[in-house]
Structure formats: structure tokens, C-alpha cells
């Protein structure tokens, strides 16, 4: 989409509205001007017609043969008039050829517009009475006269046009002034926005805040934007810090792991050794590199679980007990090696909807942990149950337990509660972090409960799938599983 300027749009809108109002104003004003000017013209016409009538009345005319002539200065030169008495005789006229037709017309309105000789006039019809010989005893003879008096309309229109031009010019000036002032005001008004942009531009991985001096914070319209940016920044900062911590921890673990392999190899080459020593040394190097491999694999698993998008196409409805029994089967050897009995209690089917591989990983992590933290001859119990739309998996051991200060950190990445023990057993400190990531992915919850000296319980809850219709063929799952074991 093309970029556009908000300022320009606002100013254009305001100016357009203003222009429309101006045009309306000019229209109304010109109508008013026209009416008032024509009224004034009419009043003037009345006066002038009256003065002509006066002249007719005052004229000395004993014979009743009055004739007015244009030379008498009765009317301005540009005006026209014609006077007729009731005997049909034109007794005076000025500049009006063919005035008789106008007189003869039946139009008896007081004012009318006429064109005489190509010039437009406003004409008044003024009937009057002339008393011939008023000195007579009977009071003289009354003679009716009709006066038509016209004045050019051109000057009136001229004045109206001037008024319109004046209004238009001042309107234009107003538009320009409005535009300039508006531009200035908008620029000043938008200053907090520019400031906000500048402060937002200053955000980097080393400085995550918008700056407390932000003027934008006090602008009501910008407040939602500012708080949205701030909360987004907070989330970003947290996730960034988390990522950085992870990378740093991962680098530390990897470097240490590489250091082990490297030093094991260097130890072999420090002096000549017997074939048996080399053999033993190389075996140690192999074990060390396998541990490094496991560490890398687990880090990748965790990274994928935490950052990767969900893949619902790999989700299945699986029976928790089936998966648990499968996993337990794999740990039989390890458990019997440590003389630990593995008890699975999963009688009623409990279905959950998830990626079967991830569920298997979860079960395997928990059981492995429980076995590692159990003494010889102890028991590890895995119990599956369901209640109120929640599937529940509990893995219990009777091991040494976890101390109170360690318990809050057990799900932290690379955290090892008991370093000497978990290092020796090859723990990477990622098992529980991975378990938690899996459970969270399916909107479940995981927690550890522990009584030091008495044992630990890992409690996992997952959303229960109530249907029994869609059930993954356990045979298929088992086949896949044996395939993994064989490899």
C-alpha cells in the first residue's frame, strides 16, 4: 500500500470542509447582497419617479399642454423615463425610444425589468395625478399621468459581483492561513509521536525501556500504544534474557563436554602407553563423546519443544497406561540391574491427545529419574488415573528426596540438584526441563512433591480426552517402539 501523510490528509480534510462552508457562505451572502442592493435601487427609483412626478405637477401649463424635455435635468443622464397623461399623450421622456409600447403593456406591477436598446433596466411604474390650474374655484382639473422610470441594473450587479469577489478573496486568504496554522499546530501536536518514534528507535538488546521521560505517556491517544509497546518489550526482554541464558548455559555445558573429550584424548598422548591403556583410554573417550551426543540431542529436543510451532498433525489420542507400560518395559533391565521393582498401576483406560513420542519421552524421563534416585531394593510406582476431565500420572520413588532449597529449581535447565550424583550418573540437567516443556505444550501441569529422606513424587496432569472411539492401535505404537530399541 502506498504510504500517505496523516498530516496532509487531516489538513486536506479540514481545508475541504472549510472551502465548502466558504462557498455556501458566499452563495448566501451574494443572494443577500443582491436582494439588499435591489431594494436600495427600488427605493431610489421611487424617489426619482416621485421627483419626475413633482416636476410634472409643478410645471406651468395653463393650456394643459405640458411637455417635459430631457434638458431640464429631472433625472440622471443614464436613467430613462417616459410620462403619459390620461389622454394618451406623452408629455415627456428621456432616452427611451419605443417607450409607448412599454406604457401600453397591460403589466401593472410596480417594478419590472426591461431591456431597452440592449441595456437592462429596472423600471418603476408610478401612476400620479396632476391638477391643471389649481387656482380655479373648482380646484382645477385633475389629470392622471403614468410615469415609467428606469435605471440601469448593471451597476447593481457590479456591486454584487464586487462583494462576491471580496468574500472569495478573503475566503481564500482564510484557507491559506488555516492551512499554514493547521500544519504548524499538527506538527507541534504530533511531537509526542515523533518523540515516541525516536525513543522506540533507541530500543536495542542492551536497552529495553522506552525511557521514563517519554512525553507520549501523558497523551491520552498515545497511551494505549505506549503501554502496548512497553508490555511487548517486557515480554521480549524476558524471552530474550531467557534465550541468552539458555545459550550461555548451553555453551558452558558444551564447552565442558568438549573439554572432557579433549582432555581424555590428550591424557592418552601425554606419554607412550601400553595397548591396554590405550584401549581403556579410548573406551573412556567413547563414553565421553556419547555423553556429549546425548547432551546435544537433549538440548535440541528442548529447543524444539520450547520454540518450535505446534504440530497438531502428529497428535493422536493415546492411552496413557499403554504408553507407560511400553516405557516401563524398556527400563526393566536397568531397574533389575539396580534391584528396583517397577510397579505400574494403570487399570482403567485414560486417553490424552498428544504426540505419542513426546508422551513416551515424558514417561521415560520421569521413570528414569525415579530409578536413578532410588536405593537398591526400593520400589518405583507409576500410577495413572483420571478425574474431572483431567488425566493424572504420578511417578513415585522412595529415594533420598529433594531438599527444600533445591525443589524450586528442579525444572530449571541444566540444574542438577545433587551434582556429584547426577554427574556420575550422566545427567545433563535437562530431563525435567524437557518434561515440563512437553507438559506445558499440552496445557497440562507438572510438579514435584518431596519429603527429604522419604521419597519424591512427580505429578503430571494433562487434559483428558473422554471419547473412546478414536484409539490409536497400540500394536502400531509398540512396533515403532521396538524399532527404536533395535536401532
Amino acid at each position: 500500500m502506498k504510504t500517505y501523510s496523516l498530516t496532509r490528509r487531516l489538513i486536506t480534510a479540514v481545508l475541504l470542509v472549510e472551502l465548502c462552508s466558504l462557498l455556501a457562505l458566499i452563495g448566501i451572502a451574494s443572494v443577500y447582497e443582491g436582494i439588499s442592493h435591489f431594494r436600495a435601487l427600488d427605493v431610489m427609483l421611487r424617489g426619482r419617479a416621485d421627483s419626475v412626478l413633482g416636476a410634472v405637477q409643478d410645471a406651468e401649463d395653463p393650456e394643459d399642454n405640458l411637455m417635459l424635455y430631457g434638458t431640464e435635468g429631472l433625472a440622471p443622464r443614464r436613467d430613462i423615463y417616459i410620462v403619459r397623461d390620461d389622454r394618451g399623450r406623452v408629455i415627456g421622456s428621456q432616452g427611451w425610444p419605443g417607450g409607448e409600447q412599454a406604457l401600453a403593456s397591460s403589466d401593472t406591477r410596480e417594478f419590472r425589468n426591461l431591456t431597452v436598446g440592449g441595456v437592462r433596466y429596472r423600471v418603476i411604474r408610478r401612476p400620479g395625478l396632476r391638477i391643471v390650474d389649481p387656482g380655479d374655484a373648482k380646484g382645477g382639473v385633475a389629470r392622471h399621468v403614468i410615469i415609467l422610470y428606469g435605471s440601469r441594473t448593471h451597476p447593481v450587479w457590479e456591486r454584487v459581483r464586487n462583494a462576491i469577489a471580496f468574500y472569495a478573496l478573503s475566503g481564500l486568504l482564510l484557507l491559506v492561513v488555516t492551512g499554514v496554522v493547521l500544519l504548524h499546530l499538527l506538527r507541534r501536536g504530533l511531537q509526542p509521536l515523533y518523540e515516541l518514534a525516536e525513543q522506540a528507535g533507541g530500543i536495542s538488546v542492551t536497552s529495553w525501556n522506552l525511557g521514563p521521560s517519554s512525553q507520549a505517556r501523558y497523551v491520552r491517544e498515545l497511551e494505549p500504544l505506549v503501554s502496548a509497546i512497553e508490555s511487548a518489550l517486557l515480554r521480549l526482554e524476558q524471552s530474550f534474557a531467557q534465550q541468552r541464558q539458555f545459550v550461555s548455559d548451553a555453551a558452558h555445558e558444551l564447552k565442558t563436554s568438549v573439554a572432557v573429550v579433549k582432555s581424555s584424548l590428550q591424557l592418552l598422548t601425554m606419554r607412550t602407553r601400553s595397548a591396554k591403556e590405550y584401549e581403556e583410554g579410548l573406551e573412556r573417550v567413547r563414553i565421553d563423546s556419547e555423553r556429549m551426543e546425548e547432551l546435544v540431542a537433549k538440548m535440541l529436543t528442548l529447543a524444539r519443544l520450547e520454540d518450535g510451532a505446534e504440530q497438531p498433525e502428529s497428535y493422536r489420542t493415546v492411552e496413557l497406561g499403554d504408553v507407560l507400560r511400553d516405557v516401563a518395559e524398556h527400563f526393566r533391565t536397568l531397574a533389575s540391574f539396580h534391584r528396583i521393582s517397577l510397579v505400574i498401576n494403570a487399570n482403567s483406560p485414560v486417553f490424552v491427545f498428544c504426540d505419542p513420542d513426546q508422551l513416551r519421552l515424558l514417561c521415560s524421563n520421569l521413570i528414569h529419574n525415579a530409578i536413578q534416585h532410588s536405593a537398591a531394593g526400593a520400589e518405583v510406582r507409576a500410577i495413572v488415573s483420571s478425574r474431572d476431565k483431567v488425566a493424572r500420572l504420578v511417578v513415585e520413588d522412595d529415594g533420598e528426596g529433594i531438599s527444600e532449597e533445591v525443589l524450586p529449581h528442579v525444572f530449571d535447565r541444566f540444574y542438577r540438584g545433587d551434582p556429584s550424583r547426577s554427574r556420575r550418573t550422566g545427567g545433563t540437567g535437562l530431563g525435567l526441563a524437557i518434561s515440563k516443556a512437553i507438559v506445558l505444550r499440552y496445557h497440562g501441569a507438572i510438579r514435584l512433591e518431596s519429603r527429604p529422606g522419604h521419597g519424591t513424587s512427580a505429578i503430571v496432569t494433562l487434559p483428558l480426552v473422554e471419547t473412546t472411539a478414536e484409539r490409536t492401535d497400540p500394536g502400531v505404537v509398540r512396533n515403532q517402539e521396538t524399532g527404536v530399541v533395535a536401532s
Partner: protein, 236 residues
């Protein structure tokens, strides 16, 4: 020489300890967490402490600071997986003498360990000399007036320790502590045999540097028997 190695990664600690015992023949004690490391450093005499930074219970930096706060002057070599400049500067400013970034070279660990021990005892050259006696810590060879002397590993270690502290009285216990790791008590009778063998091997020829045996006080490496007896008595 006795070294304390504080490292929580067991396999790495095993390898470093093995290399230090095998190569320069140091006695190495191992600790797997910071607290144990600090306790050991406080209660035993070490010539060098090799300290990992990321440690359970007490991190390496804290261990280092506590040591220096208590006036412990033992040389400290830090092993770190962090290579940011700021953390290195912080380390050195907190009293570390040297550092190595993981993954390090075992040969470098040994070389730096030897250099730090030398410096800690006021020596600069890897070849120690006293009179016509010469000891090369590089290849662990000993010469008397240019003639090589063949010593057993334990005899070499005793001589090396004494040559780092010439003319000073070194108690039998100190010698034991610096030659053996935790199990030194079991070796207490053996050390006398080693010293007497060493004395015999050194004592051939004219003007020999000799190991004096000061009753109930310890041993002293001197240029000529009797020369420093009075001074030794005064100092004792």
C-alpha cells in the same frame, strides 16, 4: 607440590588430576563443589588451587573471594567456560592469578600450574639452581656439576619442593602434605627413607648441597653442611 582441584564435572576433574599426577608429579586433591573446595583450601596447605567457576553450592568466584578475604595467598588458576572479557577482568581483579578457557589444553594446564607454583615461591626460571646443583622442572632432570643424577619420582618431588624453598626449614609434616594427597598420613614413615636416599644420591663429590635433618623440626636444604646451622637455630 600439592594441588587442589575444584571441578564438578567428574570426568574432566579425573583427567586434569590424572595429568597433574602423571606429568609434573603433583599430589592432587579433588573437590566437587565450592563449599568442599573452600573447606579443603582453608584446612590444608596447597601450592596451587585450580578452580572451576560454575560450581554447585558455592560458585568459583565466591570461593576465590572468600579465600582472598581470609588472606590466603595460594596461587589460583581458574577454569572457565566463559570467555567474555568482562568476566575475565572481574576474575583477575578478584584475586585470580591466571585463567584457562574451556576446552583447554592439558599441556597448557600443566605448564601454567608449574609457572604459578614457581612464581608463588618467588622463582621465575623453570631451572632451579643451588650451588652446583641444577633441577629442570621441564623434563624433571637433576644435575650435579653437569652430571645427571637419577632420582625416583618421589625423591625428585621432595628435592623440587626443597629447591623451591632453599635454606628454609621444611617440617616433615609440611613435606608430607605437599607430596601426597588426602592419604599422606599413611606415608609418614616412608618419607624418611626417601629423604635419606635423596641425601645419599646428592652427597657425592665435593662441596655438596645437603639436606640437613633438624631433629623434631624438619629438613633444610643448604649449600654446605653446617654453614647455616647457627642461623637455622636462631630462626627456629
Amino acid at each position: 607440590m600439592r594441588v587442589l582441584l575444584v571441578e564438578d564435572e567428574i570426568r574432566l576433574a579425573e583427567n586434569v588430576a590424572h595429568a597433574l599426577r602423571d606429568g609434573p608429579g603433583f599430589a592432587v586433591d579433588q573437590a566437587e563443589d565450592g563449599q568442599t573446595g573452600l573447606d579443603l583450601a582453608e584446612n590444608l596447605c596447597y601450592d596451587l588451587i585450580i578452580l572451576d567457576l560454575m560450581l554447585p553450592k558455592l560458585d568459583g568466584l565466591t570461593v576465590l573471594r572468600r579465600l582472598r578475604e581470609r588472606g590466603d595467598n595460594t596461587a589460583v588458576l581458574i577454569l572457565t567456560a566463559r570467555s567474555e572479557r568482562s568476566s575475565i577482568i572481574q576474575l583477575l581483579n578478584s584475586g585470580a592469578d591466571d585463567y584457562l578457557s574451556k576446552p583447554f589444553d592439558l599441556g597448557e594446564v600443566i605448564a601454567r600450574a608449574k609457572a604459578l607454583i614457581r612464581r608463588g615461591k618467588g622463582m621465575a626460571s623453570p631451572a632451579l639452581r643451588l650451588g652446583d646443583l641444577e633441577l629442570h622442572t621441564g623434563d624433571q632432570s637433576v644435575f650435579r656439576a653437569g652430571n645427571p643424577i637419577v632420582l625416583s619420582p618421589m625423591e625428585y618431588r621432595i628435592l623440587e619442593y626443597l629447591m623451591h624453598r632453599p635454606r628454609a626449614i621444611v617440617s616433615k609434616r609440611e613435606l608430607l602434605e605437599h607430596m601426597y594427597d588426602f592419604n599422606w598420613v599413611h606415608h609418614s614413615n616412608v618419607i624418611e627413607a626417601h629423604v635419606s636416599n635423596l641425601r645419599r644420591k646428592l652427597g657425592e663429590g665435593a662441596n655438596p648441597p645437603t639436606i640437613e635433618n633438624l631433629r623434631n623440626r624438619g629438613y633444610r636444604l643448604v649449600l654446605e653442611y653446617g654453614n647455616y646451622k647457627d642461623a637455622g637455630d636462631e630462626s627456629g
